[in-house]
């Protein structure tokens, strides 16, 4: 944006302050100061800054919009490429698979064999850690390269897998594909581990092509399907390709830890290893996708040749470009947008294919992603429940270890890291209700039940958002720590703002409505605030703030990122 505008606005926003990282991010517990700004200061934040915050973070906070303002949009993106903060590394603690047969270990199953500790860390970091863009990209990747806690009962395995995605979010997609393919959790989830030449499993081979790279049908560079003369889509591979590819992926098994040699020693947090037997790996030549793994090649060569073929396939760049755009910016990108990002996937400008940093930067800086809020057909995307909940947490300014969110996300239809299948929580082409031809992946999760569950969450955490809420104080004993105050609302800042109803309306509009509430809507917010009275001025202010946060967060304007 123009620097003159920025100069004028960020002085106001400097009133927002952060108390940052007195506690290590990995411990998950810290908090931002509450938003403090003037009416003019709030109104002056350009819509495009707030759009970026919705696209590239888990939701606007005063600190975040201030920082974007200081650095400008490209500058902030570049800073995000350097920032680190979140990690799952300390959750990668292998235990033998019969660990909980020792009945004296408290919360043994939850803390060692479920997604829960990883999910709690995810939410705490989404709420508070500074490396927002890295986390958003890793979250998108976790929904493309899916591993699910319903198939992988290993906290260390799920944590290690998420760490791979977090570390690879700004790396190269080919490297990521290599780590994902050989990860013990993926080996378990899609049955590549222990697949052997006598009758190889086709599971990983098939999803590698269909979901992780090229997709089943040929795509033009702009992501539109290539059609045969009779109008039918053209397949990218056939059963023979799948069969030969599955043979190339035989011969692998789990790393064993703890000196164990039976199934109890399987370590789903480590890369797989080649089985030390001569009957598991298929040493014959295999031909697929126009390439050949020669007879006698090592198992690692088979994997390398397979992944190179999938990564270098011409359908892979447009397909992944479209998926990443759908996760970050909009559900219905134009063919031109897909083509521009696909071209960056093919070549980052320095001849490198698959450079995630270049891809992410291009997605966020594309003309179709930037500018004032667009209106009309096909713009924007519905916030999936995880993003809606995390966005609410950030706007409220909750301090949290994330446990409360793990108690609620299943009811919202999206227990993070526990997708129902490798096809994720929703398909990329789920139709937008009541429209012809538009898609809206996240809309699959907004049934009557799912919608009401989200509305009730919003109600609970705003109007009923007092510090003694049950789900904010559940004794969950995550990782053996007894936490008595997992999630804390810090209402003091909001009470200060809400002393002035117009200022309250302005800040709510800023943080939750993209500064796009109409005059009539602002008036309705103001009337709602004034309808709440109490002889205790502080209590009155808090209740007014809670009511307006409830109205805003239950609105379609909050639920759709444009």
């Amino acid at each position: 944006m123009a620097s003159s505008i920025a100069d004028a606005f960020w002085r106001f926003l400097a009133l927002f302050t952060a108390n940052g990282s007195s506690t290590p991010w990995s411990a998950g517990l810290t908090a931002f100061d509450q938003p403090v700004t003037t009416i003019d200061g709030a109104a002056a934040v350009p819509v495009d800054v707030l759009r970026l915050a919705r696209q590239a973070s888990f939701g606007p906070t005063p600190q975040l919009v201030s920082r974007i303002g200081e650095l400008g949009i490209p500058g902030w993106i570049d800073e995000q490429f350097r920032v680190r903060g979140s990690t799952y590394g300390d959750l990668v603690k292998w235990v033998p698979n019969d660990y909980c047969s020792d009945k004296t270990i408290a919360n043994c199953w939850q803390n060692h064999f479920t997604r829960v500790p990883v999910a709690a860390r995810f939410y705490a970091d989404a709420a508070l850690a500074p490396d927002q863009l890295r986390q958003r990209v890793a979250f998108a990747l976790s929904q493309i390269l899916v591993v699910s806690g319903s198939g992988v009962n290993s906290t260390a395995g799920i944590a290690s897998y998420q760490q791979v995605l977090l570390d690879g979010a700004f790396g190269n997609y080919r490297d990521l594909l290599g780590k994902v393919t050989l990860h013990g959790s993926m080996g378990l989830y899609l049955s590549m581990a222990d697949s052997s030449r006598s009758a190889p499993s086709e599971n990983y081979a098939r999803e590698l092509l269909q979901l992780f790279t090229m997709g089943p049908m040929q795509l033009a560079a702009d992501g539109t399907p290539v059609l045969a003369a009779n109008g039918a889509p053209v397949p990218n591979y056939g059963s023979d390709d799948i069969k030969a590819l599955s043979r190339a992926l035989t011969g692998w098994t789990y790393t064993k830890s703890g000196g164990r040699t039976d199934w109890t020693g399987n370590d789903y947090s480590q890369p797989m290893v080649v089985r030390p037997v001569n009957w598991a790996y298929d040493t014959q030549a295999k031909a697929f996708l126009g390439v050949t793994v020669p007879a006698g090649a090592a198992p690692a060569d088979g994997v390398r040749i397979a992944l190179d073929a999938a990564f270098n396939h011409p359908s892979t760049p447009p397909r992944l470009a479209r998926l990443l755009i759908q996760h970050l910016v909009k559900a219905n990108p134009s063919p031109g947008y897909v083509a521009r990002i696909g071209a960056v996937f093919v070549d980052n400008g320095k001849g490198v294919r698959g450079d995630m940093k270049a891809i992410v930067r291009a997605i966020l800086l594309d003309p179709e992603a930037r500018g004032a809020e667009p209106r009309g057909g096909g713009f924007g995307k519905v916030k999936e429940p995880v993003l809606a909940m995390a966005g609410l947490v950030r706007a409220l300014g909750l301090q949290t270890d994330g446990a409360a969110m793990t108690l609620r996300d299943a009811a919202l239809g999206q227990p993070v890291f526990q997708a129902p299948s490798v096809f994720n929580f929703y398909p990329p082409d789920y139709p937008l209700p009541r429209s012809s031809g538009l898609v809206s992946p996240a809309s699959k999760l907004y049934s009557a039940g799912g919608t009401v569950a989200l509305q009730n969450l919003v109600f609970d955490w705003t109007i009923k958002g007092e510090a003694n809420r049950w789900d904010w104080n559940a004794a969950n004993s995550l990782n053996g720590a007894s936490s008595s105050a997992n999630t804390l609302p810090l209402w003091a800042g909001w009470e200060a703002i809400a002393a002035d109803p117009d200022r309250l309306v302005a800040v709510v509009d800023l943080l939750m409505l993209d500064n796009t509430a109409t005059a009539a809507q602002k008036q309705a917010l103001r009337s709602a605030a004034l309808s709440i009275t109490n002889t205790n001025a502080q209590l009155q202010a808090r209740k007014r703030a809670q009511a307006l946060l409830y109205i805003a967060a239950s609105s379609p304007n909050f639920l759709v990122d444009r």
Partner: protein, 454 residues
């Protein structure tokens, strides 16, 4: 938004212009005469590709031997099969609770059925790739082909939704899912009711008029883009449906008592049992909603059994046995609940799944994606002892196998199967091409819906 929403439609349906509105949308005009009393269909989608070849197993000596020879690692022993008298087939032992329904003549078997765009032989399959369904053996595509009934193109709506379009119903939608939003339920005009399988559906709301007015000022906002307008309507509909159905879901009906394990008396807890219990409750409460026809979608996941489908050393146990056991207990409980309501001949429950699985098991005691599959139809007055379709030649690489792993070419199309149920449900001849898009293909040359109901 150019299209009129269901909300608008309801509003108009209450007005003097209701008849004109119906005509305008072509809804409710041609839907078959519902004078024959109440009917409901209950589609149970088994996500992941159920291994129907181990759900229904040949029991005649030679046929069983051929089965065992080809299935290899995942073959069930004879002792793991419950014979269905007179059919030459048996159920997986885990589904024994369904055998009494067969004995009553209230269950039909549908063999080697799958997605087809046009009839195929092995020779035409091999020589004419352009006639095959697109992306065969892809979960997501085949699920959509089953639900949308267009096997060679993108499906943006499905058979229950299109049925709903033609029903012209107002108020609480008679197309209801407890298995989430799915393409099957989406109509070109009508929207389904999608409810949770557990818990009370009630919206926490403020009792302040000023707060509600502000909520409405956003939900009813004008000048919204398509995505936001659709989302606003989803929110408003959810509120309306909560008010309309909350009381029914929040109370225990007479049907609840049947959802127990007959062996132990313990309440069933599987998700599919919770869903079918709620279906039974909605059927019990049909007059509350004014429904003379209902269509339900329920689901069970986890059937993508590439490994550990059967347990090492005890192939009658394992992932698949657990899934089928839950399914059978839920279906038999549901049938008993319908009997108690006197509706066992008015309600049809039927299975669907992505695809069948390879006949040959793999080295990890699982099997891979295939095509033709076997299905169960329960209740609705099905032909007693009915077995429809043809069991394939189980020879690997044989006349019915398009590979060497046992990927059987379907001999019955999904539209011949579901079309039979849709006709029974009341879809008029004139509406069949709308609800079943390739109806012309399947109603010529002696083909057509299978004779499920005689």
């Amino acid at each position: 938004m150019v299209q009129l929403s269901r909300r608008h439609f309801h509003r108009m349906a209450l007005s003097a212009g209701a008849a004109a509105a119906l005509g305008m949308f072509g809804r409710g005009v041609a839907y078959g005469a519902p004078g024959s009393g109440f009917r409901a269909m209950v589609g149970v989608f088994l996500f992941g590709g159920n291994d129907g070849w181990n759900m229904l197993v040949p029991t005649d000596t030679a046929a069983y031997a051929a089965y065992a020879a080809s299935r290899q690692t995942v073959a069930l022993p004879s002792a793991g099969i419950v014979p269905l008298a007179g059919s030459g087939l048996g159920l997986h032992k885990a589904m024994a609770s369904l055998a009494p329904i067969w004995d009553k003549g209230a269950m039909a078997l549908v063999l080697n059925t799958g997605t087809l765009a046009t009839p195929l032989t092995k020779a035409t399959y091999l020589s004419r790739p352009d006639l095959r369904p697109s992306n065969l053996m892809s979960h997501s595509d085949e699920q959509e082909h089953w639900q949308g009934l267009r096997a060679q193109s993108v499906n943006r709506d499905g058979f229950m939704g299109r049925l709903h379009d033609r029903m012209g119903a107002s108020g609480v939608p008679p197309v209801i899912s407890f298995g989430g939003n799915n393409v099957a339920l989406i109509g070109q005009q009508a929207q389904p009711l999608v409810l949770p399988s557990r818990g009370v559906l009630s919206r926490y709301g403020s009792n302040s008029t000023a707060i509600e007015a502000a909520v409405n000022s956003f939900a009813g906002g004008t000048g919204l883009d398509d995505v936001t307008a659709s989302t606003a309507e989803t929110i408003r509909d959810a509120y309306a449906m909560t008010a309309a159905t909350g009381a029914v879901l929040g109370t225990t009906g007479s049907v609840e008592a049947f959802f127990v394990d007959p062996a132990t008396g313990a309440a069933l807890t599987s998700d599919v049992s919770q869903q079918l219990k709620r279906v039974a409750r909605m059927i019990e409460a049909r007059s509350t909603f004014g429904h003379t026809r209902q269509s339900f979608f329920v689901s069970q996941g986890g059937y993508d059994t590439h490994d550990a489908q059967v347990a090492w050393g005890n192939v009658v146990a394992g992932t698949h046995a657990n899934l089928l056991g839950d399914l059978a207990l839920a279906l038999s409980a549901f049938y008993k609940a319908m009997e108690a309501l006197g509706l066992q001949d008015n309600v049809t429950a039927f299975t669907m799944s992505d695809f069948g699985r390879t006949y040959r098991g793999n080295a990890q005691l699982g099997c891979d994606h295939a095509w033709g599959n076997n299905h169960l139809v329960i209740g609705g007055g099905v032909t007693a002892g009915g077995v429809f379709g043809r069991y394939p030649d189980p020879t690997l690489g044989g006349a019915d196998d398009i590979s060497n792993e046992g990927r059987f070419l379907p001999t019955t199309a999904q539209e011949e199967y579901l079309g039979a149920i849709l006709k029974w449900h009341g879809v008029a001849e004139a509406d069949l091409p709308y609800v079943v898009p390739n109806w012309a293909t399947w109603s010529t040359n002696g083909r057509g819906p299978i004779g499920l109901y005689g």
